[in-house]
Symmetry: C2
């Protein structure tokens, strides 16, 4: 797995290096990011711009994951996210919302918008809040700026709820078990290092499994 932060990709990580990784026997490469301020297509364009020969399906980011969760559970989100990532939610029914999804919304974290999210949560019999990350802050240019985590904490406090966090990964112990140990739900994706024997792992039981997070669009799986 190759994790990166946008605009901090080290210059010495070249496509040649990437191709070497890909060429290694049995080694699958995934680009994994917690980036939520732009669409996956834009992520792809940025990586391609850096010279990487990468497919969209090789990029793992939080928005496709939450879209699948929303579909599986029949949830219609009120979105408090950055404008630039809105197209990734285009296929998600947002009418008559019955949950709130927040991500790094940047300047959309206004008092007015936070109140709208808060008011919806307070109106729900069973308020559901998803936060696409719990990060405290990150570096934007030369400044540290607030990430989604502090706003998640604020809404949790205001509404007496706990946001739902889900870890989706291919490592039954490191990803799934690690997430469960941190109080999150752990879902395993049947790609990468997944092996069928993970289904009966002696110490870790995944909260669910999906075949391919990036491409899964059906409502059949009910694990998220």
């Amino acid at each position: 797995m190759f994790a990166w932060a946008m605009s901090t990709l080290p210059p010495n990580v070249s496509n040649a290096f990437f191709l070497v990784l890909k060429a290694c026997a049995g080694l699958q490469v995934r680009f994994c990011t917690n980036e939520t301020t732009i669409t996956r297509k834009q992520l792809l364009a940025e990586l391609t711009g850096f010279g990487f020969d990468v497919q969209e399906s090789e990029i793992f980011s939080p928005i496709p994951a939450v879209c699948q969760i929303l579909q599986n559970r029949g949830l219609r989100p009120h979105l408090l996210v950055a404008n630039a990532c809105m197209p990734d939610f285009a296929d998600v029914d947002q009418t008559n919302p019955n949950c709130v999804v927040i991500a790094d919304a940047e300047s959309n974290f206004s008092y007015e918008n936070l109140n709208k999210a808060f008011q919806l949560l307070m109106s729900l019999e069973k308020p559901v809040l998803f936060s696409l990350g719990k990060g405290k802050y990150y570096k934007h240019g030369t400044e540290l700026v607030l990430d989604a985590g502090p706003f998640m904490k604020g809404l949790e406090y205001a509404c007496d709820i706990t946001a739902e966090c889900v870890m989706v990964g291919d490592d039954i112990v490191g990803d799934v078990g690690g997430a469960q140990g941190a109080g999150m739900r752990g879902v395993q994706v049947r790609t990468g290092k997944y092996r069928s024997k993970d289904d009966s792992h002696p110490t870790v039981q995944a909260d669910g499994r999906v075949d391919n997070l990036a491409q899964a669009k059906s409502k059949r799986s009910n694990v998220l």
Copy 2:
């Protein structure tokens, strides 16, 4: 003590009732509010407008309390508060700030302003955050809106700190002891129901005492 919420003062609480309270032998009346969106002069004008014969010194609100704390501890605040209450901080040195004070800042709770407060806290060796209330929400007109508490929680989470909360009251058990039981510092004001024997109360020791919160301007007391 008479606590009220602005714009929800019950119509049957008249000045006559207030004067009856004042006339009762040994009974001192104080107007106590957690209102932080306007100045104490404006609070006085509102109460006077309701027909109350009240003095400014009879109104207890959070801003004069925090101003005294700032003076006593030599702290210079970065303010994240409502525009309307700024005049109450006019005498407070705000140059080269070394702490943050937040209150119900309403629309001033923008991403930009929250980042400024966050960045200052992160730049301080010993970050100090005061929150003039921990309220989750309140009713504004017909809507529930977010109070200062959720933003305090967000900044606490982002900076790994705990905001300072101080209860100032005249009741050694109910105010001071109650605050201490809730994890706050409890300071007793020597007015109202204060008695000199409170100084040696068998079960509650105040974290400090001040003669008169409303009028205290000196730096002599070092209790807050």
